[in-house]
């Protein structure tokens, strides 16, 4: 069984019903550690040693956050700047993360259509996640197909939200229990493409 670390970042979590639903679905799920970065480091002063230990203790690292200005909220970037040190995450002696997996779990304000060449966001979410993909590569990690929840502002349908959250949990369980064949993981663009494989 793989161990999952969710690095969660939302500056206004109290107003985010989408992320709340996603996290709630994971309650009492075995092998999952939810780490609320803004709650732990309200002034963004990150305890590097502690974070590195957490990374060592887990196999699948998840960045879960809303898409802000086509990237993550600031604390994720700060976390990367501080924690992914030379000699730890990369560099000649930096092998600590080798063989682990990195997954982005993204909620967007815009609709799925807006993230196309015709939409006002012009590109697919996966293209905006390129820096994360490259980060994973540099650290010797496998970058998993991202999980994206679109138009979180406008989801008023509680049942739909709950269903999505349930799928999220199923997918994480699949990853935790290594139920996805390597070639399917490779082929999938988004994590939800793997739902049929379950």
């Amino acid at each position: 069984m793989k161990k999952i670390l969710i690095l969660f970042a939302h500056p206004s979590y109290h107003r985010s019903h989408a992320n709340k639903a996603l996290l709630q679905a994971l309650r009492k799920m075995e092998g999952v550690t939810i780490h609320d970065l803004y709650q732990c480091y309200p002034n963004m002063f990150i305890d590097v040693a502690r974070e590195q230990q957490l990374l060592l203790d887990h196999d699948i690292i998840i960045f879960q956050h809303p898409l802000y200005w086509y990237s993550s909220p600031a604390i994720i970037k700060e976390w990367m700047d501080q924690v992914l040190e030379y000699g730890f995450a990369f560099g000649p002696d930096g092998h600590a993360l080798k063989g682990k997996a990195l997954l982005s779990v993204i909620t967007t304000g815009g609709s799925q259509e807006s993230y196309t060449s015709q939409g006002h966001n012009r590109r697919a979410v996966i293209e905006y996640l390129l820096p994360f993909k490259q980060t994973a590569w540099l650290c010797g990690m496998r970058y998993l197909p991202p999980f994206v929840l679109y138009s979180y502002h406008t989801i008023q349908d509680v049942a739909l939200l709950r269903e999505t959250a349930r799928e999220y949990r199923q997918l994480l369980e699949g990853l935790r229990d290594e139920r996805f064949p390597a070639d399917e993981l490779h082929r999938a663009t988004y994590l939800t493409d793997l739902l049929e494989a379950l």
Partner: protein
């Protein structure tokens, strides 16, 4: 000789209370029943160790006066105004209907009509002392039934006054038609109005400066004396114009409910009230005439049952009309089904007016005393049998009414430290109850619109009065380490649900707090000293973010050291060793380690794969450069 007697009596009463009340409470009977039983035991029919209880009773009745003062303190004028409907409606109809019902029954017993009306009026009253004490103890005073009972009792307190006037008139049987009343009627009215106005205006405008003056002297016992003096003064003033002293002190309490001295007054009067009420209950118990009961058990018990039945029926009916739910209706009816302590006074008056025969008086006195003694029993039966049935029926029992003083945060000490905390919470819309013990200071704060109460917080009673048992957080921001430790100890012992956030004056104080098991300790100077240090670094040319990080690291590090050192406060050499050890670690972290690692990241970042190029930029560290000769920066090699 006299003092010997007094001391001996005090010894007997206190022993009886100390022995019987805890036992009664342990058995779930409540303190009132405990006192009553104690009274019966030491009374003339069992041990016969006390002399005449009449005088004691007189003193003890002052307990009722104090109790109403305290109740007034809890009731703000606005709240009292809300109660006007129940007081007049419920209270008025209870007194009227019960009087009528008992009068009719009395007529059936072939009393003359004057005697029947007198009996009706006297028995219509219920016992404020017993009811309020029992309901408070059972936490039922703030429920629907509790509030209704209170309203009725309040009306009865007012109704006593005309009764005192009517009974002598009835005795005169119209043969001496209204001489006295017409003569002084309007003057009396004027006098009464003047006294009541005096209480209201005096309480509002005069008492504050007086209490402030006394509080500034810093002598607690003088404050206690002043509080008692105030109550006695009002009682005397009310008596002099023929009004009920309890009513007057109640009014004074209401007037003072909004003053900053409310909690302190409450805490000071409370023990006196408790003891005097206890004494009152004991004397009721001791006064039960068992000889009469043994002589005519059938008559006495029959009358007792009749009295309780009539009162219960009327109250049940009233509860029904005012749409009380059945569970509350039962509590309301059973709580108020006894005779009153005023009955003793009125019966004596009726005897003096030769309205009722001596035998009837002693019979009624006994019935009233027995009915009072029975009330706690009825309430227990109500709880065990009647209420249980309704609890099962309706799942959602209504919650107790939340007093507006149920603030989640209690701040103790509102000086330069506490104020900042309070302002921040206040700006966030969080209700705080604030206690401070500097009267002059409170005055200034009140001018700025802060609700601050006067009081020394290292007293359990005061913490209770301020709602510590209902709050979530206790912020201890007092400036005196000893007092701060005392408050924390009290809170830990008596309010385990409270989370403590404590201001530490200095390092030794912080150690003591940590040793005492307080976890959230904030040294008052560290925050701003570190801020200053950070700016000093900045002025010396260190990049602002770098300096800020150094400050954060320092804070965390020092916090860790503080906690580790707590184990060695008695071992000086070990304490210093720890300190030195940590200082070295910190220096390493801040100067060499952290700096190097950061510049390593920055410079190594782009050249990882090849490691050949020189870094594009070098971080300028003018003041540290010279210190770091022996630890060359890898990025600069």
């Amino acid at each position: 000789m006299m003092t010997d007697g007094l001391l001996f009596d005090a010894f007997i009463f206190l022993t009886a209370a100390v022995v019987s009340v805890p036992i009664a409470r342990r058995l779930g009977l409540g303190s009132v029943l405990g006192y009553l039983i104690a009274g019966i035991i030491i009374g003339p029919y069992l041990l016969n160790v006390v002399g005449k209880t009449d005088d004691v009773m007189h003193v003890a009745e002052f307990g009722v006066v104090l109790m109403l003062f305290l109740i007034g303190l809890e009731l703000k004028p606005a709240l009292l105004w809300q109660l006007k409907g129940p007081v007049l409606g419920l209270g008025g109809s209870q007194v009227l209907l019960t009087t009528v019902a008992i009068t009719i029954v009395s007529l059936l017993f072939e009393l003359r009509w004057q005697q029947a009306i007198t009996t009706g009026m006297i028995l219509a009253l219920s016992s404020t002392a017993i009811v309020l004490q029992s309901l408070t103890e059972r936490r039922q005073l703030k429920t629907e039934s509790g509030q209704a009972s209170f309203a009725v009792l309040l009306f009865q307190d007012i109704a006593v006054i005309p009764m005192l006037a009517i009974i002598p008139l009835l005795a005169a049987r119209g043969s001496v038609p209204d001489t006295a009343p017409t003569l002084g009627g309007w003057q009396d009215g004027l006098l009464i109005a003047a006294v009541i106005c005096g209480i209201i205006f005096g309480g509002h405008y005069l008492m504050r400066p007086v209490f402030r003056f006394i509080a500034q002297s810093g002598m607690r016992e003088i404050f206690v004396a002043a509080a008692l003096l105030l109550v006695i003064l009002i009682a005397l003033a009310m008596q002099s114009v023929g009004l009920s002293p309890a009513l007057g002190t109640f009014l004074a309490g209401v007037v003072l409910a909004e003053s900053e001295y409310r909690h302190e007054l409450e805490a000071n009067i409370e023990p006196f009230k408790g003891l005097l009420l206890g004494l009152f209950f004991i004397s009721v118990g001791a006064g039960i005439n068992f000889t009469l009961l043994a002589h005519e058990p059938g008559v006495v018990l029959g009358l007792l049952a009749l009295l309780i039945l009539i009162k219960c029926l009327v109250l049940q009916g009233l509860g029904g009309v005012s749409r009380m739910n059945p569970a509350h209706r039962w509590t309301f009816a059973l709580a108020l089904a006894q005779g009153s302590e005023f009955a003793f006074v009125l019966l004596t008056l009726a005897y003096q007016s030769q309205l009722l025969s001596a035998h009837l008086i002693s019979l009624l006195t006994l019935v009233v005393a027995l009915s009072m003694a029975l009330t706690p029993v009825l309430l227990i039966l109500n709880q065990r049998f009647v209420q249980r049935r309704y609890e099962e029926q309706d799942e959602e029992r209504e919650a107790d009414k939340i007093d507006e003083h149920d603030n989640p945060v209690l701040i103790v000490g509102f000086g330069r430290f506490g104020q900042v905390v309070g302002r921040l919470l206040h700006a966030h819309g969080i209700g705080t109850t604030v206690l401070d013990n500097d009267a002059g200071h409170i005055d200034v704060l009140r001018k700025f619109g802060y609700k601050v109460f006067y009081g020394d917080a290292d007293r359990l009673d005061l913490l209770y009065a301020a709602g510590a048992h209902k709050a979530k957080l206790l912020v201890v921001a007092v400036g005196n380490p000893a007092k701060s430790l005392a408050v924390c100890e009290l809170a830990q012992k008596h309010f385990p649900q409270l989370k403590l956030l404590v201001r530490a004056i200095d390092r030794p104080h912080a150690h003591q707090l940590l040793q005492q098991g307080v976890d959230m300790v904030y040294r008052e100077t560290v925050g701003s000293a570190v801020d200053l240090g950070v700016n000093a670094l900045k002025e010396l040319g260190v990049r602002a973010n770098q300096a800020w990080r150094a400050g954060q690291t320092f804070k965390q590090h020092d916090e860790k050291l503080l906690r580790e050192q707590t184990a060695f406060i008695d071992d000086e050499s070990m304490y210093i060793t720890k300190s030195v050890q940590y200082r070295h670690i910190l220096a390493e972290m801040l100067q060499a380690n952290q700096e190097d690692r950061r510049s390593e990241i920055m410079s190594a970042w782009e050249n990882t794969p090849t490691q050949e190029e020189e870094p594009e930029t070098q971080i300028q560290r003018p003041f540290f450069a010279s210190k770091n000769h022996d630890t060359p920066n890898r990025g600069e090699k």
